[in-house]
């Protein structure tokens, strides 16, 4: 069975807003982190997201020819949306309904990992379904103090198991957690 993991780049206080990323993400780019990210993405062949993330990513990445761009363009993209009518990024499929069943079917197929990106709404809807096998965080050394949090207020109590941790030179913590069945 394929593994499905959620990738989340967050500040220490859990902010992962694209709006503020220029402050805490763009300015901290460095080769070691880029190498880590590229290696992580190369483990997957399905790239899954909600509509907002999809619309934000595809214009730039569909034209990107860097190593990471090539990996993302090769992956099959699944965008979960009831409103999107076209998926312009090459190799894209729209999932409009029966989301949990469709994802479960994809997990049953042979293949590499399924990677979910950004997509707070999608991730929140999958919590408790048993479909998420891991959360892979990159925690940046910032407190933003405002903005959308990855773990929203009101989330049910969730126990996790730390499976891997790595400190990158920039002060980024790469942390991989698995949900613990309650």
């Amino acid at each position: 069975m394929r593994k499905l993991w959620v990738k989340a780049w967050i500040t220490f206080d859990g902010v992962f807003d694209a709006d503020t990323m220029e402050y805490w993400w763009q300015n901290t780019n460095n080769p070691e982190r880029m190498a880590y990210i590229t290696e992580q993405y190369s483990q997957g062949d399905i790239y899954m997201m909600g509509r907002t993330t999809y619309e934000m990513l595809w214009p730039g990445w569909s034209k990107d020819t860097t190593e990471l761009g090539q990996i993302l363009n090769r992956m099959h993209k699944y965008v979960i949306s009831t409103s999107l009518t076209e998926a312009p990024w090459k190799e894209s499929t729209i999932i409009r309904e029966n989301v949990v069943e469709e994802i479960a079917k994809l997990k049953q197929q042979p293949g590499k990992d399924i990677i979910i990106d950004g997509s707070a709404t999608l991730v929140q809807s999958l919590q408790g379904t048993g479909l998420i096998d891991e959360y892979r965080f990159l925690v940046e050394p910032f407190i933003m103090g405002r903005g959308r949090r990855f773990f929203a207020e009101g989330t049910d109590m969730t126990k996790l198991r730390l499976v891997e941790s790595k400190t990158l030179k920039s002060g980024t913590l790469a942390l991989i957690y698995q949900p613990v069945a309650s």
Binding site: P141, F142, I143, R146, F151, A152, Y177
Partner: protein, 195 residues
């Protein structure tokens, strides 16, 4: 200048309320008290003793001070944990307390917190340590008085409760140390300011 260190047990979603026991702090209907218990590891104790050996003062809000006092004040001086906690100088910040008899070696700060803490930092001495004390922590953070965050980050999400960092304050941090413990707790020390 003395360093002010905020030491906390904190969840992945930034909650610091009632780590030690079910009845520790149920304010706001908080029902998860004692959430640190399944994850104990001796290194957590070692970090605590290390922090205490580098400090000569505790700075606490009233509720945390009262809770610690109730736990420690009656322990004998030769108790390894209690001895350290009872003999160290405590500063409790409160506008409602009138006596510090509940926990020996305590001094009351009843007003002008920012000035009083600045004065303490200017004295000769070792580190000043704060734990719990969410309201006081917010005041200190908002006034840029904190020199280090020494955090044990637990592998769980609680979804609500008192949080360490106040809304609206942006802080650049430098990671000083990170160590994953076998029980899933990640020890993370940060200093405000960029490299």
């Amino acid at each position: 200048m003395r360093q002010l260190i905020i030491a906390e047990f904190i969840t992945l979603d930034g909650v610091i309320q009632a780590p030690g026991g079910a009845e520790e702090d149920t304010e706001g209907g908080f029902a998860h008290g004692g959430w640190t218990h399944p994850y104990w590891h001796d290194d957590i104790g070692a970090h605590f003793f290390q922090a205490m050996s580098e400090a000569d003062a505790l700075l606490l809000g009233r509720k945390t001070w009262e809770g610690h006092g109730a736990a420690f004040n009656s322990l004998p001086d030769d108790d390894p944990f209690g001895g350290a906690m009872n003999t160290v100088k405590k500063y409790v910040v409160s506008t409602t307390l009138t006596s510090t008899d509940a926990w020996r070696n305590s001094t009351l700060i009843s007003g002008n917190v920012v000035e009083e803490v600045q004065k303490l930092k200017q004295q000769d001495g070792k580190n000043i340590l704060l734990d719990g004390s969410s309201i006081l922590a917010h005041t200190l953070i908002e006034n840029d008085l904190v020199d280090e965050y020494a955090l044990h980050v637990y592998p769980l999400v609680l979804g609500g409760g008192k949080r360490l960092f106040p809304e609206g304050k942006r802080i650049n941090l430098t990671l000083v140390e990170a160590q994953a413990l076998p029980t899933g707790v990640v020890w993370q020390r940060y200093r405000p300011g960029s490299e």
